[in-house]
């Protein structure tokens, strides 16, 4: 069957047209590599478009700053789980890459002297833990939109080849472990296509759809992570999922941290500015995990607002209409449209909301996917990953706001450069492994079964509810155990799920089925990793193990699909050129 499959060949293939994929593709196209980008939605619909607050770089346009301070903040923010070599690399590269984005056309907001506008964000400090820094470069509160559109525009200019609205199903891998390309599905026609490539870069974004209330787009189903799992590659640090403190309560739309960066603050039902109790120094601009736990605790202890006392309020009115219109027009629009609230007059109801996948496909700082071997690790030849689907790991146990847009451009570019080298040393396509192609086709055709069964939509809803209830902000052994049981039950039900719609042309039901399958694999990975980690670190808070335990747990988890096996690997504490920041108690 796999023989009559249409095939295309490219030097290099990028799966995903968010900021990560597009930045890599640009590097490749500019080096005259024959590059194809596959995306399940038109590139500018990728979820990078939704990023609001900004991108971090120590430009020092507003307050004194340097990359070393940025590095310290990122390591502390990561609760010391971040790899210090990758973090140094990212923070050093930041200023150059932000300027490069500006040169490419990004319409950043401006200061009076004409330089790029920067705002304070959570977890930022001057001088290694001193005064608040202002490190986040912003275009009002639409920074992701401008970066994504600019990168797409530059790719059109560089003549990158796009496969828009093609869905990637599985990686093709041969017995020697080489990745040879991807089986994709053209959504418009419903026809599969094999894209062969000497290298494949996964840049498929995060998996926020694991949780019922989330700030993510419908398409953020972690497909690339699940593809890696199915190809035998482990996922790293999946227990660390970021809950953003300020999602619109009950609905999930994000209200950027930039709102607090501009001077907004949180209050409880007594009107108390409660963050002063939890983080006396940084207050509302403490790290996200800290603020989320504080809100959760306020609500749990009965100090929530509203008729059901189930949220807190984000107060912005004191900033004045002018600042709000100029600096935060997007979130004002969102409040008006969805809540009929005018932020210049009334506070916004907010609650911690699933936001960012810290874990992901393990890579080194060149974007190469790495797996453990007896002594150390080795690369999977031909496979790269960047962005939210990757775990390089610069975010460790908790990402700082503004560091993900930075992550995607820094490592998108780094991976592009490394791929150029790989292509120089690997001039020819390897022979395709037909068994692997057949396995991918079988995976797709599983959805052709026509007997009666449960619906995909029901599985998605139940899975999201279970994850929210059993794998949320605070966790315990008992809750996680129940959660795992429930997820495994859903996994069993999945075998009996059937499509009713077997048409070919633009069959969105089939796409959603493939997405829910992916989510399910990731749910198992997340809960299993969370259950095993008996400590509290960053976003992973265990009530039964309230402290960080560096002796036993200063290590990355690796989850393998086969047998739901866990393995661990050390955190890289050695930076590239400066001294290690040794783990310290983390206070804000």
């Amino acid at each position: 069957m796999s023989m009559d499959l249409p095939r295309r060949q490219f030097d290099t293939l990028v799966i995903g047209a968010g900021g990560g994929g597009l930045r890599a593709a640009l590097q490749l196209a500019q080096a005259d590599a024959n590059v194809a980008v596959v995306s399940k939605v038109f590139p500018t619909r990728s979820h990078t478009v939704a990023a609001q607050g900004g991108i971090n770089a120590a430009l020092a346009n507003v307050l004194p700053d340097n990359w070393h301070w940025h590095m310290y903040d990122t390591i502390k923010g990561s609760d010391y789980l971040g790899d210090q070599d990758a973090i140094e690399y990212m923070c050093r590269a930041a200023s150059h890459l932000v300027v490069e984005l500006e040169h490419a056309g990004v319409p950043f907001s401006r200061l009076d002297n004409g330089k790029i506008y920067q705002r304070p964000f959570g977890g930022q400090s001057q001088n290694f833990g001193g005064e608040q820094a202002a490190r986040t470069c912003a275009a009002a509160d639409r920074t992701g939109h401008v970066i994504l559109h600019t990168l797409y525009q530059q790719n059109i200019r560089a003549k990158t080849h796009f496969f828009d609205e093609y869905f990637a199903i599985d990686l093709i891998r041969d017995d020697n472990g080489f990745i040879l390309g991807v089986l994709v599905l053209e959504i418009e026609t419903g026809e599969p296509l094999l894209i062969e490539a000497k290298t494949t870069l996964l840049a498929t974004g995060g998996a926020g759809q694991l949780f019922r209330t989330n700030t993510n787009a419908h398409i953020n189903t972690g497909d690339g992570l699940a593809m890696a799992l199915r190809a035998g590659i482990p996922l790293q640090d999946m227990e660390f999922f970021q809950f953003h403190p300020t999602g619109v309560a009950g609905r999930g739309m994000l209200i950027t941290e930039g709102a607090r960066g501009e001077g907004g603050y949180l209050i409880n039902k007594d009107g108390e500015r409660f963050m002063e109790r939890y983080a006396p120094h940084a207050k509302d601009l403490a790290s996200r995990d800290v603020v989320s736990r504080a809100i959760f605790t306020e609500v749990k202890e009965g100090r929530g607002c509203g008729p059901d006392a189930d949220y807190v309020l984000l107060k912005l009115d004191h900033l004045g209409k002018e600042v709000l219109d100029k600096r935060l027009p997007g979130i004002c629009e969102t409040s008006r449209t969805f809540l009929h609230i005018e932020p210049a007059e009334e506070p916004i109801p907010v609650y911690p909301t699933a936001h960012y996948t810290m874990g992901g496909i393990p890579t080194n700082r060149f974007g190469q996917v790495v797996v453990p071997v007896e002594q150390g690790e080795e690369c999977i030849p031909g496979l790269y990953a960047v962005g939210e689907c990757a775990c390089v790991s610069v975010h460790g146990a908790n990402r700082l706001g503004g560091n993900s847009l930075l992550d995607i451009v820094v490592f998108g570019r780094a991976a592009g450069n490394d791929i150029i080298q790989f292509l120089k040393n690997n001039r020819y396509h390897r022979k395709i492994d037909e068994n692997s192609v057949q396995a991918a086709l079988d995976h797709l055709h599983r959805w052709d079964k026509k007997d009666e069964g449960e619906s995909v939509a029901g599985i998605r809803t139940d899975l999201q509810a279970v994850m929210e209830e059993y794998c949320g902000v605070f966790r315990t052994e008992e809750i996680l155990k129940q959660g795992l049981e429930k997820v495994l039950e859903i996994e069993k039900r999945m075998e009996h799920v059937r499509l009713k719609d077997h048409s070919k042309i633009f069959n969105t039901a089939r796409i959603e089925a493939l997405e829910v399958e992916n989510l399910l694999d990731l749910a198992v990975a997340t809960v299993t990793s969370a259950l095993a980690r008996q400590e509290s670190r960053g976003a992973h808070s265990r009530i039964d193990y309230p402290d960080r335990n560096d002796k036993q747990w200063l290590k990355h988890s690796l989850f393998f699909k086969e047998g739901r096996r866990l393995d661990y690997k050390p955190v890289t504490l050695q930076p590239l050129s400066v001294e290690t920041f040794p783990p310290k108690p983390r206070v804000y």
């Binding site: 478009v49 300027v99 040169h103 319409p107 907001s109 004409g114 525009q153 398409i219 048409s503 069959n507």
Partner: protein, 233 residues
């Protein structure tokens, strides 16, 4: 709540038809948007095809025609709509299936206006400087999400889809013309000259009336015309 939805599956339907769906009042929560309703309907009938993603009006996927007017499903409150709510694909585009249209022509025009910053001078090591006043000139332009509501509401675009760039692409062109950093004014203006590419615009203003982001393509087109006049003298 009653919906009339345009259905067409080229594999099984000889021709398009309108299908009625009802949502029970207990399924309709206050503050619900049209996209939420379409998702509810889809969970009952998975064959209904439409594009959508972010759910908050930033990705631009879900442009549809709602009670005769183009808009985004995710930003249109059910409470603002008269029943039965009639939902069709945006007009004037080839239909792929149900509410999904082929946007190739629309994106072709977008790419054709060279929507990227062109600077001939050599690059400095730091950012190009731009005063806040100059940056303000991009407000109302750079926010375009390429949803296509405007161009597909424009009669000139319906009649000359291959030659007229359409409001979205022209707004995009002006976004770069208005950018103090861009150095390709002449090239851009020359490219838009002639009877079709821009001058097919007859200021009908449908574009501005439907833009879900509150942008004003019509004014952008006028500004391009003004630049052309200035360029001539």
């Amino acid at each position: 709540m009653k919906f009339l939805i345009y259905r067409y599956d080229p594999e099984s339907d000889k021709k398009p038809f309108m299908q009625t769906f009802e949502l029970h009042s207990k399924d309709v929560q206050p503050g619900m948007m049209l996209r939420d309703a379409l998702l509810k309907i889809k969970s009952r009938d998975e064959t209904l095809a439409f594009r959508h993603s972010c759910g908050e009006g930033v990705c631009g996927s879900d442009a549809i025609n709602i009670n005769g007017k183009n808009g985004l499903g995710c930003l249109t409150a059910l409470s603002s709509l008269k029943e039965p709510i009639e939902v069709r694909p945006v007009p004037g585009m080839p239909i792929i299936r149900d509410l999904v249209v082929d946007m190739s022509q629309f994106f072709h025009h977008y790419r054709a206006v060279k929507p990227w910053l062109i600077v001939h001078d050599s690059e400095p090591e730091v950012e190009y400087l731009q005063s806040p006043e100059d940056r303000d000139k991009l407000d109302g332009l750079y926010e375009c999400i390429l949803c296509g509501c405007c161009s597909t509401a424009c009669p000139s675009f319906w009649w000359n889809p291959d030659k007229f760039r359409g409001p979205a692409a022209l707004l995009q062109s002006y976004r770069f013309l208005a950018d103090s950093r861009d150095q390709a004014t002449e090239e851009r203006l020359e490219d838009l000259d002639g009877p079709y590419r821009m001058f097919r615009c007859h200021t009908i203003m449908n574009c501005t009336n439907v833009c879900p982001k509150g942008l004003n393509p019509s004014a952008a087109i006028n500004n391009i015309k003004k630049l052309m006049v200035k360029d001539m003298v």
